[in-house]
């Protein structure tokens, strides 16, 4: 992965001068002239940065803002090198163009906690090149040497102390050659990076003016809801739309691939129309699916060897020879993303163009799909990225199912249309975190040292059939299925990780932290079980197996110290620990739980230490740690999508509960100071929280939770049973 991250880009910085428009800086392709039509912000394909005569600094962000703070982080990278006035910086979404692609996938998309990692240098170069050009232009005007000038707060400061604002020389700068290799600041002279600046998108998010996909407005815009079968992939045998068409406000009822769309003047009419639609469904091949049966089948499969993902020494022989073996099995359910903004997409399809408004994490996929569905060339498809009301991977769906559906409806009615999924549509609409089963074995030698570790994983491949298949499936192993297990850091001489990838046919996809979301639980639960068998303190036991892993040790020690590890706790309380690396960042969490009289647990406090290398914005890092903990804790306590007869049993937040404020633990975040390369931050807090909590439950109760969620939710009710 680091090879991909560090690969040299073939792009070259280019500047463009547009009459009266200041300095534009982008990469590679010549900056095209302003597009015709009246727009408040001119459209510059390929631009990353624009400096106006009014000193306004506009950053075209090639990533989707879904809460992770990228509309602040990317501008900070540019502003650091540019030395501009931070108060004059604003972020706008970039259009779709090759230059905006994520070097990890070759597509313009946001995911895999890659934004800062891939843009850390590239965006700083944009800022540094612009700064150098502005200095040259100002020096020329003043008749001094560029080397005698310095920059600060959006001004070039000349020898003697006079200064010239960037805006005043922006156009002159645009005519100068672009430095091919602009010099970057040393981290020791950073003035913005590493500072807890407030997010640029907060003001619009507190006054209701931030526009999400669902807020898209167009003249004559219609709203459609699509009725889909009770079983994923079911098809329409026949339907009767007489009653639906009679609902006031309904303007059309049309059949598309996946169901029947009711198109109306607004959401409520479409909903009422859909409620009275009569459809005869062919449930199709998934009608027999049941998660209970799948779990049983997966457990059976886990008895036989799978495809090897890692094999150090000879784990089987070492286990056979071990005088003290430990075995455990872990079960994790399908999970929905449950973004708070239900999926939606707006399409305006004309004879020779297609415009799409979507909160998407995958702009290139979105554009190419629309092109193939409409027969238009990709350049005739324009994608407007809105704010995303949560992403968590769902809006990066490899098939952009929510976009496809809207384009299909638009193709039928040829009028601007917004397709909205109800919460129930969203919950039952497929593409879940896979259901996983893991069988683990460990062996000690006579002296009590861990000499063998076997981790066998059973679950669906996410990458198969996607654009990532070639890069992410190697020798029959979907690397995302075993990530975090394959890289288990514990220093054990005989170590085997193998994988079964059954194909029950449920649509699955990445869910915040992807494979780490299950391997984190398995690895960090099992190491705790080994510590218990060894009769050792779980923190010290981990330390002993991580002597060559300084960054793991760093967060482990920091979290343990800050949490007061080793203190004696009152009865009914327990403390658990978990440490995990993902996306190039290291996280340790210590969770405190209290057993409540009703048998449930309360997570009181989580101390979280993170080493994500050099930091861009510690306030955003803290927020992502808190958020990842809430997201992971929601899943750990409650999250489960279950199937009976192919039907998803959950449909809303009553039977797919998520953490609420009254259950929020007090989260303390401690960031390790580091000069290492930046790591990802959006996902990395998720994997350790489930095992930290279940290990704490063990400490409090002596019972191991090996099946998630911790509570068994009865469909349709709030009744809970502790799954221990």
């Amino acid at each position: 992965m680091s090879d991909i991250l560090s690969m040299s880009r073939r792009d070259f910085l280019k500047s463009g001068a547009v009459a009266g428009a200041g300095l534009i800086l982008g990469f590679s392709l010549p900056a095209a002239a302003q597009q015709p039509g009246k727009k408040r912000m001119p459209y510059y394909p390929n631009a990353f940065l624009h400096i106006g005569r009014d000193n306004a600094v506009t950053v075209f962000v090639n990533k989707s803002e879904m809460g992770q703070g990228v509309y602040t982080a990317i501008p900070m990278l540019i502003a650091e090198e540019l030395d501009c006035d931070w108060g004059k910086v604003r972020a706008v979404p970039a259009p779709v163009a090759e230059i905006y692609a994520n070097p990890m996938s070759g597509k313009q998309m946001t995911g895999g906690s890659t934004s800062v990692r891939t843009e850390w240098e590239r965006m700083r170069k944009v800022g540094a090149a612009a700064r150098s050009m502005l200095v040259s232009a100002a020096a020329k005007r003043a008749g001094v040497a560029p080397s005698s000038c310095r920059t600060s707060g959006g001004k070039v400061i000349l020898p003697g102390g006079k200064s010239i604002e960037y805006g005043a020389v922006a156009e002159a700068a645009a005519l100068l050659p672009v430095p091919p290799e602009p010099v970057l600041k040393a981290p020791s002279s950073f003035t913005l990076l590493g500072k807890p600046l407030r997010r640029l998108d907060t003001p619009v998010k507190v006054n209701g003016s931030a526009l999400f996909g669902i807020d898209t407005k167009l003249p004559g815009l219609l709203v459609a809801l699509v009725a889909r079968g009770p079983v994923y992939g079911g098809t329409v045998r026949s339907f009767d739309a007489t009653k639906a068409r009679a609902v006031p406000g309904v303007v059309a009822v049309v059949k598309i691939d996946t169901g029947v769309a009711v198109v109306a003047k607004g959401y409520w009419a479409a909903k009422r129309g859909r409620d009275v639609l009569e459809i005869d469904w062919d449930d199709g091949a998934r009608a027999g699916l049941s998660t209970g049966k799948m779990r049983t089948a997966y457990a059976v499969l886990s008895k036989s060897p799978g495809t090897i993902a890692r094999n150090d020494g000879g784990a089987e022989a070492a286990l056979a020879a071990s005088p003290n073996r430990v075995n455990a099995q872990y079960d994790l359910p399908y999970l929905a993303h449950a973004d708070l903004e239900p999926l939606n997409c707006t399409v305006d399809l004309r004879r020779d163009s297609c415009e799409i408004w979507a909160g998407t994490q995958g702009q290139t996929l979105c554009r190419d799909l629309a092109a193939s569905l409409t027969g238009l060339p990709p350049e005739k498809v324009k994608v407007h990225t809105t704010y995303l009301g949560g992403g968590f991977g769902r809006r990066g769906n490899p098939h952009q199912d929510f976009v496809t559906m809207a384009v299909q409806v638009a193709r039928e009615i040829r009028k601007p249309v917004k397709v909205i999924w109800t919460r129930e549509d969203d919950m039952r609409g497929g593409y879940y975190r896979p259901l996983w089963h893991a069988r683990m074995s460990g062996g000690f030698d006579e002296k009590g040292r861990v000499i063998a570790w076997r981790h066998r994983i059973v679950g669906q491949s996410i990458m198969k059939g996607t654009f990532n298949e070639k890069s992410r499936i190697k020798n029959g192993v979907d690397l995302s299925s075993v990530e975090g297990a394959q890289q288990v850091p514990y220093e054990i001489p005989n170590l085997l990780v193998d994988l079964h990838s059954p194909e029950p046919g449920m649509p699955v996809q990445w869910w915040r932290s992807v494979g780490h979301s299950h391997t984190g639980f398995e690895v960090e639960s099992f190491i705790d079980e080994l510590a218990q068998v060894a009769g050792k303190d779980p923190y010290q036991f981990r330390r002993g197996l991580l002597s060559n892993h300084p960054r793991h040790l760093g967060v482990l020690d920091l979290a343990a110290r800050k949490a007061g590890w080793g203190e004696k706790l009152p009865g009914g309380r327990g403390r658990g620990i978990a440490v995990f690396e993902s996306y190039g960042s290291y996280v340790c969490q210590v969770a405190d739980v209290t057993l409540k009289p009703d048998g449930r647990v309360r997570v009181d406090r989580v101390v979280c230490a993170v080493d994500c290398g050099m930091t861009v914005n510690p306030s955003i890092i803290e927020a992502q740690m808190q958020g990842g903990i809430v997201f992971g804790l929601s899943a750990a306590l409650y999250g489960a999508i279950t199937l009976e007869n192919g039907r998803v049993q959950q449909d809303n937040f009553n039977d797919y509960p998520v953490l609420r404020m009254d259950e929020m633990p007090k989260v303390e975040v401690h960031i390790v100071e580091s000069r290492e390369k930046p790591g990802g931050i959006g996902e990395t807090a998720v994997p350790p929280i489930a095992p930290a909590v279940t290990n704490a439950i063990f400490a409090a109760t002596g019972r191991r939770v090996r099946q998630l969620p911790i509570y068994n939710i009865e469909p349709g009710s709030f009744n809970v049973i502790l799954n221990a």
Binding site: G67, T202, P203, V206, W268, G389, F392, Q626, G627, M664
Partner: protein, 162 residues
């Protein structure tokens, strides 16, 4: 025709009596700050004030608010100047931001009747508002920061229990 008053402006609307207030606000009046999240009063994203009380507009039929005073996030103040919105900015609360208008409306309603809420009061009052991004800790901080700065809205004297 149903008469309603939203953000101080009077409307006569020709809509079905059972149409949820949420869709009247969003689709008929074009005020999109109030969000759809669940349609079942489970998430709080659609929270608005009716005569100063926080209600879930997704399950409130428009006929039930005829003649009443409705306030949405857009009508809370000149943009972003309400003390609670200011506190949200100072604590840098939002992540994706989708739930925040509902969170803010719930918080304002809480502070109007309980100017200095305890942690437990906040947890109880805000438990109906889901944030999938997990901004709860900062929301709590922002409510404490705004404590004592919220005046009652028309139709609801301050200090009166819900």
């Amino acid at each position: 025709m149903i008469p309603i008053k939203v953000n101080g402006k009077a409307y006569e609307l020709d809509v079905p009596a059972d149409m949820p207030l949420l869709w009247v606000i969003r689709d008929e009046l074009g005020l999109t700050g109030t969000k759809y999240g669940c349609g079942s009063a489970l998430c709080g994203a659609c929270t608005v004030h009716v005569d100063g009380r926080a209600v879930r507009s997704c399950v409130t039929p428009v006929s039930a608010v005829a003649g009443k005073e409705v306030v949405t996030i857009e009508g809370l103040s000149s943009p972003g100047m309400h003390p609670v919105q200011q506190a949200w900015i100072e604590e840098d609360v939002p992540q994706c931001g989708y739930c925040q208008p509902g969170q803010i409306m719930s918080a304002v309603a809480l502070l109007a009747v309980n100017p200095h809420p305890s942690d437990a009061d906040i947890e109880q009052a805000m438990a109906g508002n889901i944030c999938r991004c997990g901004t709860y800790q900062r929301i709590k901080g922002a409510i404490h920061r705004a404590a004592g700065k919220v005046a009652a809205e028309p139709g609801r004297p301050a200090g009166r229990k819900p």
